[in-house]
Symmetry: C2
DNA sequence: TCAACATAGATGCAATTGCATTATACTACG
DNA sequence: CGTAGTATAATGCAATTGCATCTATGTTGA
């Protein structure tokens, strides 16, 4: 991708650049993970959410849904697969009989620990080798503004289509 | 998304921010398109590539593959669907009997023309209302560096896993 | 208290994607 | 030339996703 190829309207150019960079990076990092024989990138995110946000507490599926921006029916099935693989566990939820609490297993913790160095190296290679720490911070600052604002907007009116 | 939620390592934070922003924006803009009754976002990209890069020439499927970062087998089937819908056409390729040339139809041009204002407004709403033109340009400059460099790397060695 | 409505999660079915492989045509080199 | 190797595109089949709907439980208010 070169600057010259982007649309002249700076906002539209930003849209194209974000989408392209996002897709390209995800594809590259996911490919490294797969080459190492790991399950999908997504599984890492779930394991990480469960591990850090649940010292003993666990997470409700809808919290995963919101945190990772996965559709509800896909959370349901992703959790199925990860339970079947033995990386996480469903437990009944004491405060709400409709719900459940998801907990990472030892096997899940072990997998996450094994995955991280690979993904870390991949991220460093694909991003870190081309941006300084300051560049990276500047990039974050800009991106955070876009996403933070968008969230607020969408959470206000009615909230049925979240993705 | 807030800066405080990002990992402390600035490179990893950039990775998270790019992925989150990319997914979030795509979901938001795609939702607007769907609400307007349009086919998937992806179709717009194909129509646009064909329209601008083919005054009379058309594009080879593998050019779409590289340009839009879609896997070869998915290009093949995406083209099927869009042909069936009448928005594009396959034509035999004169210089290479294995291949074909894709061309946008009048119906396709009309669809793209109808889609653009909707997507443009959506992009403005989700990005433009939160970034100045200069912010947007700065963002592009940073993202382009990441992606441009990554491309070069991956095109060098052997090139089997592209997206 | 109970009816009306909202929320958590699962699921049937169709559409799409990923993976592996195939068919066909081009290219290069002995 | 002829053959080994490579590039273009398609496809069978399994896995995943999207959409619509469903069940069960929680919440609210007359």
């Amino acid at each position: 991708m070169r600057v010259e190829d982007l649309p002249t309207d700076p906002i539209v150019a930003a849209w194209v650049a974000i989408v392209r960079a996002g897709n390209g990076l995800i594809a590259a990092v996911a490919a490294d993970g797969k080459a190492a024989g790991f399950p999908p990138l997504e599984w890492y995110d779930v394991l990480w959410e469960l591990e850090r946000r649940s010292p003993k507490r666990g997470l409700r599926p809808y919290e995963l849904e919101h945190g990772l921006l996965i559709a509800q029916y896909n959370v349901s099935r992703l959790v199925d697969r990860m339970c079947r693989a033995g990386y996480i566990e469903r437990r009944p939820c004491e405060s709400d009989a409709r719900g459940q609490v998801l907990v990472i297993t030892d096997k899940g913790r072990a997998l996450r620990k094994k995955m991280w160095p690979v993904y870390f190296a991949s991220i460093q290679r694909h991003i870190g080798s081309h941006l300084s720490a300051d560049d990276a911070r500047a990039l974050c600052a800009l991106l955070v503004r876009v996403v933070a604002c968008r969230d607020q907007e969408e959470r206000r009116p009615d909230e049925q289509k979240r993705r």
